[in-house]
Structure formats: structure tokens, C-alpha cells
Symmetry: C2
Subunit: 330 residues, 2 copies
């Protein structure tokens, strides 16, 4: 069974999950149908349905779903685990409590966020939100990570469109640090740092990819990799699971357009999408602002940047934004 | 010219270096000789010699070196730059001041740390130390990063054995955090956290790969990836550039043996080696302990772990250590 281990020096928590051991560099399943556990017809293989959206008239024997959530086949964390008490103050081990779910984003093996209709992409955001609303009732769970890896270079082992939701019994260090920094900025200026950045970006326009009154896609000032792009809802809000259907619809449209631009500009790049959202029960609602980070995975990361080191980015975000603006006639 | 940009929300600093733009996924030069700028005979192409170790009897027309330091051909930072003052409190930009050097570790294109004699590997550690001792006289430089990337999956673009030294005009966030955490542990217990960990590891033996009275190689308790291995000098010391020739010799032997074990166990894996050393002028000498982290790059990193997120490691460090212990008859 997996364990949560805290590094005795840095305090960072790592999940040691021997159950997830599988052959190194597993092939990405490039063809759909019977070979892919996430395709329609393979529901029994994909696993127990935790949540799904069906088109009623097409619902026959488990088919007819448009988005479907199942447990990860090799879960890093389980809700059946005990978190327990650490017995050793230096080598701090806790049980692998949490949840690790897979969101199968479409029955179509070849769908992608850039080719899906925005209303189909909306279903994925809906599934993320509904699962968070359900999981947060388990008071042992403190934070959520959502990740979408596309392409082998981004660590994906299956190419059927999917994302992963991880619920953790603690707040991970990188989120705690981001929140602490945002809190300090808020104390300093009285404003949400994310809102201030959006306002400045909208004013300057140089790093804006596209925007309207509700949402924005932009390349951040200190982009870590070429074409890093953030998609945000402009209205201040700390937590993703508090968003309305309507807001998710607007974000889905912005995401869909952004992914199309990235595909045109970079030739369907391998990429990671990360959702950053406030921890469960966070009482400071004023300083944090949920957002989506799209990270193209164009080159192997140098050891210099590995695990939060120094990123050397050869493409200025102003150039990337211009390129993305020009990549589609809008 | 390159810029240092501070992220307005997280405070992390990124180097935006348009000069380093080159074709994506450049090929690793797999053959030596004229095709490789780092091979003997190509000194004019490799660049101005900053430092080298010559065997006097073999020194002819720039040849006969055993280790050689040159400026990075596409430097992310330059000592000729100005650090300057930020004009914008939100979007904080500074000049690309610093140094970015390449240590060519051997004239032999096919050498590696696992096949080099320990006394040849020592020359690399010697070159790192000598360059740091020289660069630290520039009071604008505050910290050093040393990285060795081996294999395309680790971000290497040349396969001739080499490492990179980066001198920064600030202390990067990940080093500051590691130091803050070690400082807190020291305040708490009165001991260096690294020394305490070594003592416990030596006592337990389960995560020790090899050790003697002066040095140790072990797989850390919260290993982030399979077969992560740290190599340390056991004597407490904060800064790499204060090490004696003799200590570097002992560390070179431990490193050479460890790399042989990793090569046998994992089949010459792509990997990154990182040197962590205290910033220049750090006055707290008691809480930090310099060390080397060897990070095998066996699989593409999931977006979950990207840039300091949550690592899910399917190989327990106890299993990795046992495997490495058994991989060579010692």
C-alpha cells in the first residue's frame, strides 16, 4: 500500500506507491477500440462508474455516456486508507489516504480539447467540479490537484482524452507557497495579486492571447517554458468547485480556443494542464484566485529546472502571445 | 539579451533568454571527433579557455588538457550585464547578470562518470571548486548552481561528458526554501538536519547504498523518483568550494562507484546530477550541508510533479538501495 512520506530536511511530501510500478516507458495506446480501456464498450475494464453524464436517449447497457469518472486503476491514494499518526519525527510516514480518479473526457478516442466542441469540454469541467463537491464532504481531505497530461513527453500513458483528480489529506508545499505569496501581496496592496495581474495584462495587451469581459488567456510575465499560457475567469473567486455552470461554460470556450491556437502554433504539442484551486475549507477567500496553467512540454526539462529549480525560457512570453494571437483569425 | 523576471504572484525568478532559442529537440551528437565541439582538437570551436588542467608533457597547441572550462555558447547569463534596479514593482525585470560556464569533463567523447577513473572524475570536482572560488570574488554573485544532464531525456543536447555551472545574482527560491527548512530543524534540535539524517541512515542501513567513514551514498527517505541517490561527505560543511583536494577525492570515488551501480542496475539511464551548496557569504554555517543529488530521468515527469508539485514514486527507496547494493560485488 502506498505511503505519504515527508522529507526530513525540506518538508516536502512524496507519495511512495509501489502499486503503481509498471514497465518503464509504457507505450501510449495509439489506437482506439478494444485496445483502449477508456473507449466506449470497454466500461467494464475502465472500472466502476463514480460519475457520468449520459444523453438519456443513448443510454444502453452502460453506453451513451459523454464524460465518465472512474477510480485510477493504479491509485496512488485511496479513501479506504488511514492517515494515521507519525511515529517517527524525523522519518515521517503516513498512510496513503486520499483519492485518485480518472476523468474520461469523451467516448471518442481521438477527441482533444482543441477539436471537442466547447460544450463537450464543459462536461469535463463539470465532472471536476462535481467530484470535488462530493469529495470535500470527506473532512479528512484538504486539497485537490487536477492534471491533464497529453502525449508521452508529458508523462501520459494512454492517449484517450482524460484527466486525473487527486484529493490529498494535506496542502502540498507548492500550493501552500503560492498561497502564502498571494496572501503577502494582498496584505501589502489590499488587492488580489491575480486580479491586479489580469488588470495590468488587459491594459498592456502584449501578453494577452484572447480575452472578453469574463475570461482571459495570457502568457505569464515570468513564463517558465515557451508558450506557457494561463486561462482564468476574471471574476475574483478562490475555489473552482464554487463556479457556476455558466462560468464553466465561458472558461470551456476560452480553453477550447486557446488549445486550438496552441495546436496550430506548435503542431499539437505534448502538454500538461494544471488546475490550481484553494484548499478545502480555506477561510481566506480574498487573496487566492483559481486558475488553469497550460504547460507545453516541448523539450525535456534540464536538471536546472527539475523540481522547482531555475527555468531558462528561450521564448519571451510577449513573442509567444503575439504568435498565438495571430495563429487563428478570430 | 536575457532578463531575470520575478513572477508577480509566486515570487519565483525565471531567466528569459531569447539568445538560447534553437531548434526544438536538437539531436544529441552521438559521434565524436570533428562533429563534436567538446572533443580534443576542437578547442577553437568550444570557446575561450577559462580554466583547464593540463598534463604538462602532453600540452601541444592547446591539446593535452584533461578538463577544460569554457563559456556556455548560448549563455543564459553574462558577467558583462547589469543587474540594475527594477522599475516596476509588479512586473519586476532585472538584467541577465551572472555566469554560465561549461565544464568539459574529459577529452574522451565516450567517457562517463561510471567509466572514468576516480582521479579523472576528481578533476571535474576540482574545476567546479576552482571556478566557484574565482567567481565568488565578484560580489554581485550570490549563489551557484551546478548541473550535469546526461541523455536527451535529461535535457542534454550534447553527449560529450560535461556539466554546467551557473552563478546567480540572487538566491533561487528552491535553495532558499531548503535552507529555511534546514535552519528551522537546526533551531529545533540543535543539530544539522543533514548530519542527523546521515547518522540515522548509517544506523538503519536499509537506504544506504555504500558508505565509509568519510562519505555515503544513500537513497533518500522521501525519494522523488525511482533510484534517486544522494552522495555526501559526512563531515559537516556548508559550502562545496571550501572542500579540500582530499575530500573531493573521496567524494569522486563514491560518485564513481555509485554511477557504476546505477548503470548496471538501470542500463546506463539518462540522469541529472545536481550540486546543492550554500550561497556565497552565507553566515549560518551550522544548519546547511552541501550534497549531490543524482536524479535518474527514467520516465517523463507527470504534470503532477512538474515544477515542484507532488511526486508519485513507484519504487520504495529501500528497494532501490538494496538493488544498488547488490548490483556490484564490492
Amino acid at each position: 500500500l502506498s505511503e505519504l512520506r515527508r522529507d526530513p530536511i525540506t518538508g516536502r511530501t512524496v507519495i511512495i506507491a509501489p502499486e503503481r510500478l509498471r514497465p518503464m516507458s509504457p507505450p501510449v495506446v495509439a489506437i482506439g477500440g478494444d485496445a483502449c480501456p477508456f473507449c466506449e464498450g470497454q466500461e467494464a475494464i475502465a472500472g466502476r462508474e463514480i460519475l457520468a453524464w449520459y444523453t438519456p436517449e443513448h443510454r444502453v447497457h452502460g453506453r451513451g455516456w459523454r464524460v465518465r469518472v472512474v477510480p485510477n486503476r493504479l491509485p496512488a491514494l485511496r479513501v479506504e486508507s488511514h492517515y494515521g499518526d507519525p511515529r517517527d519525527s524525523l522519518f515521517h510516514t503516513l498512510g496513503g489516504l486520499g483519492a485518485h480518479e480518472v476523468i474520461i473526457e469523451s467516448p471518442d478516442h481521438h477527441a482533444s480539447w482543441s477539436t471537442m466542441k466547447p460544450e463537450d469540454l464543459w462536461l469535463t469541467l463539470w465532472a471536476w467540479r462535481e467530484r470535488m463537491r462530493d469529495l470535500r464532504r470527506d473532512i479528512r481531505l484538504k486539497s485537490f490537484l487536477v492534471v491533464k497530461n497529453v502525449g508521452a513527453a508529458a508523462g501520459a500513458t494512454l492517449d484517450h482524452p482524460h484527466s486525473q483528480l487527486v484529493a490529498l489529506p494535506f496542502v502540498p508545499q507548492h500550493l501552500e507557497e503560492e498561497m502564502a505569496s498571494a496572501r503577502a501581496a494582498h496584505l501589502n496592496t489590499g488587492a488580489c495579486a491575480f486580479c491586479t495581474v489580469i488588470e495590468r495584462e488587459v491594459g498592456a495587451e502584449t501578453r494577452v492571447v484572447t480575452k472578453d469581459a469574463q475570461t482571459i488567456a495570457f502568457t505569464p510575465f515570468a513564463s517558465r517554458v515557451p508558450f506557457e499560457t494561463w486561462v482564468m475567469s476574471r471574476a475574483h473567486s478562490a475555489a473552482f468547485d464554487e463556479q457556476t455552470d455558466e462560468t464553466l461554460g465561458l472558461v470551456a470556450e476560452r480553453l477550447s480556443d486557446t488549445m486550438r491556437r496552441l495546436d496550430v502554433a506548435l503542431g499539437t504539442p505534448p502538454h500538461t494542464v494544471l488546475l490550481h484551486t484553494a484548499p478545502v475549507g480555506e477561510t481566506d477567500r480574498a487573496s487566492y484566485h483559481w486558475h488553469l496553467e497550460i504547460i507545453p512540454r516541448l523539450t525535456a526539462e534540464s536538471g536546472l529546472a527539475w523540481d522547482g529549480g531555475i527555468h531558462i525560457n528561450p521564448v519571451a512570453p510577449e513573442d509567444a502571445a503575439r504568435y498565438l494571437r495571430d495563429s487563428l483569425r478570430s
